[in-house]
Amino acid sequence: MIQKSYKLPCSMQLLLIIVTVFIGKSTCSSSNEDGWRWLWTCDVRTEKCHRKPEPVSIEKSFEFVEPLQHASLAACRLICGRYGALWPKPSGQTIITRQLLPFHPNAIKFQISNTNDQTKQYLIENTQIFHNNLLSECGSNCSSVFNTQVTIFLFPSSSEFTLRWDTNETYHLELVSKGNQVSVEILADNVFGVRHGLETLLQLIASYPVYHKHEGVSHGLAIVSGARIHDKPFYRHRGLLLDTARNYLPVDAIKRQIDAMAASKLNVLHWHATDSQSFPLVLPRLPQMAKYGAYSSVKVYHPNDMRDLIRYAKLRGVRVILEIDAPSHAGNGWQWGEQAGLGNLAVCINKMPWRYYCIQPPCGQLNPINRHLYTVLSQLYQDVIDIFDEKETFHMGGDEVHLGCWNSTDEIINYLNYHGRNRTTEDFLQLWGEYQANALNAYDALVGHKNTQIIMWSSALTDVNIISRYLPKDRYIIQTWVPSNDNISELLLQLGYQIILSTKDAWYLDHGFWGTTQYHGWRISYSNRLPKHENVLGGEVCMWGELVDENSLDNRIWPRAAAAAERLWSNPDTGTAKAEQRLYRHRERLVSRGIQAEALAPRYCYQNEGECS
């Protein structure tokens, strides 16, 4: 059996055909009605792949292949339209030729240059990830052999090895082929840019079935014969929030999310690790937290798990930002203070009827007037700093403080009375502000400087009239979580704050399953435009975990988070109609990598692009 590729001049383009030539004696086989297959053609004008209206018999397809036909939709998609199968689409120059070359995943060589040991190791490991992804793409029975050789050159120009908001993620990919030699150059400022380039390269490759008369179907890979891509992200902060407190998520499930993030070029995993329901982090200095706060001794993250996740994420261009929500959303895990002689570290824990003391059971809120609390926080922060990078930013939470809880706690009421303070809303906000100042001081004391940028949720404390009193803009980045018609983000920008947006009515992935909330489909997720302002760091989709655990995590997040990823990466001016086919393809890509992404439409609509609008 031979695979050949021909160059056919067709109008002004070079179009490819993968011709499967079957050699061997054409034995007379009984007519087998199952021996049918679909072929796809690209309509250059509409940029859509069309399934031929009638299937062709496999035998016929050995003998006779018309030009411009593809044996798989994925192969057709690669070359159909300016952006082919790329997701997110590049923000700069993008040229993809229309010719495909078949190759085997093992026929790949890497050349890594100009790096130190650390970055070299990073890239070597990434080539392994690349290869695994290639095998996933090829699928089972990836046995077709071709004589195409692919050589990939990786050129990071600096040894920069920290992912920050100012990390340059730009890359430039150049793919050329001569005969059966394919050469790919990926140039970037640093390894993270190179990694993005490798991700893009994977998206210039697709699998297709090869039919053998006797052995049945095997799969092969095809790569475009030429490409030039200049690409860089529009927003610096492209995040996904995972909540491991409402329901525990096993480390493997989190890694799967990181895989999908890497495939979609998202770069921040916002780890909402704790909440009033549970405290699954095992902290060396404060083992009581997990002991009293975890659902069980196995539903915890040990320091090694956390380090493992951070490393796993970094290797995939993703930073992990930890959030320990406080002073609200903190209850279970904080019950041990009294017994240890430290007084109540938190109040209202599991208090009933919960509706009076919190917005969701179980209740719990830190006790801002207990000075021991700040000692404990200091120990907690020290563990966080030890495990996470000291230079990494930290999320202090700060949402939904329930003043009714504090206002019903004798200890706090007495404190306010004793100090001659009232119990108005302003008084409690001030108390909260004092808590926050103390917490920040504790953190600063540990790192020895006041430069760490702290992220906080928008809240009553971030109200534009009072925010500067409590949260100075050089220290705090505000993550807003209001609906798109709310102007708090704009107002904060006017005040000079840096912000991250988690638009509630588009990027809250838990909506649609409780109360009066509505499910936000991928089109809504995609269409959520953020303000264009240098202080907008970016955005985050949020997967709150009340109604999700590892069972449905993947399909609740994907591919909707990928839709947001293109918004954040390329911030396209075009709408969802232009994105649909590429996203359908990306969903299949995620599935092939083991992520159980939701189906977006009947498969008919995947196979017949543009027919289901």
Binding site: E33, D34, W36, R37, P53, E54, P55, V217, R246, N247, Q277, S278, V282, P287, Q288, K291, Y292, A294, Y295, S296, S297, K299, V300, H302, Q335, A340, N350, W354, P361, P362, G512, F513, Y519, G521, I524, G545, E546, L547, V548, D549, N551, S552, D554, N555, T576, E580, V591, Q596, A597, E598, A599, L600, A601, P602, R603, Y604, C605, N608, E611, C612
Partner: protein, 641 residues
């Protein structure tokens, strides 16, 4: 709570013993309380705590013991910090013994459960009864399913701990010749579990195999994994007496495998879930206008032209396999090839074979002119060849499923505009002033062909979706109420069912506003609106009790069916979409529990706890089920309502 007591009626003979046990419990509790609050023990408690305080010993943090233990207080399990003096009680064990039985769906008859437990191992379970013939195979299969389910509770642990010598199961089936499920099949069973010296003896009595397998299912729910005792052990109640039979004979689940293909292994998992919830009809919406994955023996061209790919086909052997797999789980398989609408891809080979157009409007654009959702397609009722093909397909289905009592004809959402504009009208075809009559004639002819395919006898229950044809005046004109069962899918307030019941039709209820499990995921097309948002929560599935409102001739309601259409679902999320919501549905049609007037949020607290236990059971059997709430709420029953 009051309702619950009424429910568990204790046999009079046991009363005295129970009073005695109650008294003893009282004494025991008093003793424990005294022990706990004595100043001395309190002191020693503190001392041990101090010693073990990990704060002073930060090195030993890697492996922590489970800190929680549960105590049953006021019929609720309360989570406590473990104090090492009390016996440690796991949540599962506490729930099993605390007021509420953890059975799902709740039995309709007498239930009496013991309050003591014993440990055993899987290999101690033996089936003592012998059968012959077809029944032997069925009972043995049901027994091994049961045993497998019990084994799966252990996870990876290999517990060898046992308090007994043997775990013997006796099965008593009266009608040994019933090996197929019918509408009038008696599914009732009684289950007795007692400990005789060192043997655990279970007796399952049932009229038919189908009752007996439900008995196995219920028995599996009296067994659980206790992670605390002896480092993990299987436990079972020491005594139980349960009488049970379903309220409705049709308890269906519909799965659409045409919008998106669902592989055979996934369909089997759906059947595992159905069996666990005593659902008994798998309605397989196998084809639609999008695709035709049914590999017909007689008309193989259908799937060649209609399947998404060669690997997305149900071969005859697959279907037989599924039918068998379902049978031992007490489930019948009803295959629906929807016609005359919802048929397009797969029907488009007619012209090339000289049979003319078997379907019209296939993949026609703009689709909105010819059908309700893309791609379009509708059978060609004026081409006689269409009926020949139909008859062949019907024959295939009856042969493969061996189901000759129920047949689903489809029949929903016919677009008359498609026929009016795309059929080639001439004097031979006749002209219709009302195309509903053409639709009616199509149906009459399809029924004729079905009759022929079924050996000259129309199946007793031919099911059709509710549509304009099931409205006056067409109902009486075309649909014979002696054969036709209408599956009502319009929202309850459309009142479709009321008229039909009045006229004497039999119904299966699948109200879209409660039992469509696909709803709530927004629009999947670029234009237009979402088909049926919002999402139906398990509570709304459970609370739907339509027969209360429908009025007359209620005995003609054969049952209900939950539906999962697959526009936005494929193998990756089908299970999470179904469970635990289809389980909530199952209790509605098995037991039809009345609403609890005292429950603040509509669904009683006990239902939350039991359904959560059932969800855990499904997960232990390898199914994927959606989370119902934060796990904190499982660990603190009643605190999240």
């Amino acid at each position: 709570m009051f309702r619950y007591h009424k429910f568990i009626m204790k046999p009079a003979g046991l009363k005295k013993i129970l009073y005695f046990l109650l008294l003893m419990c009282g004494v025991l509790i008093f003793y424990l309380m005294r022990y706990q609050f004595s100043p001395l023990s309190n002191l020693s408690l503190r001392l041990t705590n101090k010693q073990d305080d990990p704060d002073h010993n930060p090195a030993q943090t890697e492996k922590q013991p489970d800190v929680w233990t549960w105590r049953c207080e006021n019929e609720k399990c309360i989570r406590y910090q473990r104090n090492r003096k009390e016996p440690e009680v796991s949540l599962a064990t506490c729930n099993m013994l605390c007021g509420s039985m953890q059975l799902w769906p709740k039995p309709t008859g007498l239930v009496s459960l013991g309050t003591r437990t014993i440990s055993f191992t899987v290999d101690q379970i033996v089936l003592e009864t012998e059968f012959v013939g077809a029944l032997e195979k069925l009972v043995k299969s049901a027994f091994s399913c049961f045993k497998e389910n019990v084994a799966k509770l252990c996870g990876k642990s290999d517990s060898k701990n046992s308090d007994i010598n043997s775990f013997k199961i006796n099965v008593n089936v009266i009608k040994t010749n019933v090996t197929k499920l019918h509408f009038d099949t008696d599914e009732s069973y009684s289950l007795t579990l007692k400990t005789i010296k060192t043997d655990l003896v279970v007796i399952i009595k049932a009229t038919t195999f189908f009752g007996a397998r439900h008995g196995f299912e219920t028995l599996s729910q009296l067994i659980w994994w206790d992670e605390y005792t002896h480092g993990g052990t299987l436990k079972v109640l020491k005594g139980a007496l349960i009488n049970d039979s379903p309220m409705f004979s049709y308890r269906g689940l519909m799965l659409d495998t045409a919008r998106n293909f669902i592989p055979v292994v996934k369909i089997k998992k759906v059947l595992v879930g159905m069996a666990a919830n005593k659902l008994n009809v798998f309605h397989w919406h196998i084809t639609d206008s999008q695709s035709f994955p049914f590999r017909s023996i007689r008309v193989p061209k259908m799937s060649a032209f209609g399947a998404y790919g060669r690997d997305m086909v149900y071969h005859p052997d697959d279907i037989k396999d599924i039918v068998n797999y379902a049978l031992v789980r007490g489930i019948r398989v009803v295959i629906e090839i929807d016609t005359p609408a919802h048929a397009g891809n797969g029907w488009n080979w007619g012209p090339s074979e000289g049979l003319g157009e078997l379907a019209v409007c296939v993949n026609e654009q703009p689709w909105s002119a010819y059908c309700g959702e893309p791609p379009c397609g509708q059978l060609n009722p004026i081409n006689p060849n269409t009926y020949d093909v139909l008859e062949k397909l019907y024959k295939d289905i009856i042969e493969l499923t061996k189901e000759d009592e129920i047949f689903h004809l489809g029949g929903d959402e016919v677009n008359l505009e498609c026929w009016s504009r795309k059929l080639k009208w001439n004097n031979d075809t006749g002209y219709y002033s009302d195309l509903h009559d053409l639709w009616g004639k199509f149906t009459v002819e399809a029924l004729q062909r079905l009759k022929k395919a079924n050996g000259g006898k129309l199946p007793k229950h031919v099911v059709m979706w509710s549509s304009n044809l099931s409205k006056k005046p067409y109902t009486t004109k075309y649909l014979n109420k002696n054969n036709i069962v209408i599956q009502v899918w319009g929202p309850l307030q459309w009142g479709e069912g009321v008229d039909l019941l009045r006229e004497g039709y039999r119904l299966i209820l699948s109200h879209v506003d409660a039992w469509y499990l696909d709803c709530g995921f927004g629009r999947w097309r670029e234009m237009g609106e979402a088909a049926c948002d919002p999402y139906r929560t398990w509570q709304s599935v459970y609370m739907h009790r339509p027969w209360q409102i429908l009025g007359t001739n209620r005995h003609n309601i054969l049952g209900g069916e939950a539906c999962l259409w697959s526009e936005q679902v494929d193998l990756d999320s089908v299970e999470a979409r179904l469970w635990p919501r289809a389980a909530a549905f199952a209790e509605r049609v098995w037991n039809d529990p009345p609403f609890d007037a005292y429950a603040a949020v509509g669904v009683a607290e006990d239902v939350y706890t039991r359904l959560n236990t059932q969800r855990d059971r499904l997960i232990s059997r390898g199914l994927v089920a959606e989370a119902m709430w934060p796990q904190w709420c499982s660990q603190n029953p009643g605190m999240c309502l």
